[in-house]
């Protein structure tokens, strides 16, 4: 990598966005993610989390402010490279996996970048190996369990060798075993990670740092443990720990 270590992988400056119907979702978001970090973006439903995610690879363009990925501004001319650098794992794997087989689905991204032949096969199998799904390469995605589909969805972005992986509610609809398996896979990856979630124990397990997004602004950021144990902060942003969960004993 030629980029100096000091350039953040993600650099958002005063990002504001309003939907065409006039509903304003983001009111000036500032946030930086450094290389190798694992960061959770926490916030209640409707805080603008998913809108924020769609800004990271230019599907939505900010009405004001700027987004840069490793120094490269997210503007129309750079979109192809931006989308290679930023891998987004969407919430519903059925939205992400649309090809007839797991292999074709994982190959979809690199093929868009012009990768072909043996090199493509090698990259696909490597990504599937990383998520433990290599044995399922020729199965149709709709014959997999939900947890397996989410792992394949992670592989579809891993294969692009992104600089940052962004996961939208990675633990939703997963049973506890699949949830742990996904956590093991994610912590084993050598990649910068951002996850958007309201699953606070999962954030604590995976991400040393957290950002609280509330009403379209960054309301707080700091170590995940500090945030989860700040009762006043939690209460004022509709964040609640599940019954019986104590962050101090984890």
């Amino acid at each position: 990598m030629t980029t100096p270590v000091t350039t953040p992988v993600l650099d958002l400056r005063s990002v504001a966005f309003a939907y065409p119907d006039g509903h304003q979702a983001l009111f000036g978001v500032d946030l930086q993610v450094q290389r190798g970090e694992r960061v959770a973006v926490l916030g209640p439903n409707g805080a603008g989390k998913t809108t924020l995610v769609l800004h990271l690879n230019g599907i939505l363009q900010p009405g004001a402010g700027s987004v840069a990925v490793s120094g490269l501004p997210v503007v129309r001319e750079n979109l192809q490279e931006i989308r290679r650098r930023v891998g987004i794992v969407f919430q519903d794997p059925d939205d992400q996996l649309f090809m007839g087989s797991v292999r074709d689905d994982v190959a979809f991204g690199p093929r868009n970048l012009g990768v072909r032949g043996a090199e493509l096969d090698r990259q696909v199998m490597r990504a599937l190996d990383l998520v433990g799904m290599a044995d399922f390469a020729d199965r149709p995605p709709h014959h997999l369990s939900f947890g397996q589909r989410r792992r394949v969805a992670v592989a579809t972005v891993l294969v692009m060798e992104p600089e940052i992986i962004v996961l939208d509610e990675p633990s939703s609809n997963l049973d506890p075993a699949s949830r742990r398996e996904l956590a093991d896979i994610l912590t084993g990856l050598d990649v910068t990670l951002m996850m958007v979630t309201h699953d606070l124990p999962y954030a604590l397990q995976l991400c040393p740092r957290s950002i609280v997004l509330s009403d379209g602004v960054v309301a707080a950021q700091g170590s995940t443990l500090d945030i989860l144990t700040d009762d006043a902060l939690m209460k004022s942003h509709r964040l609640e720990l599940p019954f019986g969960f104590d962050p101090h004993v984890c």
């Binding site: 192809q80 989308r83 290679r84 987004i88 059925d94 709709h142 014959h143 997999l144 369990s145």
Partner: protein, 226 residues
């Protein structure tokens, strides 16, 4: 989910017909259909020959006859239309059980039923012996425009998702005490269909976003594997 193998129309097997390359099967079916359609109604021996060829292929494929017969119900609309023909067609009439039926109408109906049955059976046999994925790859090898193949691919991929959704909606309806029994219940069913349409439309948009997020730019670069 669960079943290791494909589609409702597909019958798992390892016969020579199952193993034959998909593009050859598609080309053979299209040729067969063109020949059947082009054969004049009066050439009865030719139709017998076609039927024998199909029967031999069915036997070779090892697909149970009952399996195909049940799926022949898709032909019903054609049969209904054919049954109407002798009543609505003009020309000299013959008397059957005291009802005057058009003679050209009877001949046309007979021809229609024969040709449709051969066609439907041939298509079912293709579907029963070819995985949807292989079928798409076969079409691609036959140089069908890749956009069309992609659209069919999406259909295959999401058919299960949408029928699952439909089933869940029906279960939810029935759990609240509603069962569609007579036409007075149709408005509710229609509203469910509308909801399903909206959901599918929205899913389409989400899928499109997910494709764009992985660098898709609408070009046909996803075409045949190199």
């Amino acid at each position: 989910m669960g079943a290791a193998h494909g589609h409702r129309l597909h019958f798992h097997g390892h016969s020579p017909l199952h193993r034959a390359p998909a593009h050859l099967k598609v080309a053979a079916l299209v040729t067969f259909m063109l020949v059947v359609v082009a054969t004049p109604h009066a050439w009865v021996p030719a139709f017998v020959a076609y039927a024998v060829v199909l029967a031999a292929l069915v036997a070779l494929s090892g697909v149970p006859v009952g399996y195909l017969a049940r799926r022949m119900v898709v032909e019903t609309p054609v049969l209904v239309f054919a049954a109407l023909l002798p009543f609505v067609a003009t020309g000299p009439e013959v008397d059957v059980l005291g009802i005057g039926l058009s003679e050209p109408g009877l001949v046309a109906a007979g021809g229609l039923v024969t040709k449709a049955t051969l066609g439907v059976l041939g298509s079912l046999l293709l579907a029963a012996t070819t995985e949807p994925r292989d079928l798409l790859a076969g079409l691609e090898r036959l140089r069908v425009p890749s956009q069309l193949v992609q659209i069919m691919g999406f259909m295959v991929r999401y058919l299960d998702v949408v029928t699952d959704e439909l089933r869940r909606m029906r279960t939810a309806r029935e759990s609240r005490g509603f069962t569609a029994r007579d036409p007075r219940h149709w408005p509710v069913v229609a509203r469910s269909a509308g909801a399903l349409f909206i959901r599918s439309f929205e899913r389409g948009e989400r899928v499109h976003l997910a494709m764009i997020a992985r660098g898709y730019d609408g070009s046909a670069r996803q075409g045949a594997r190199p």
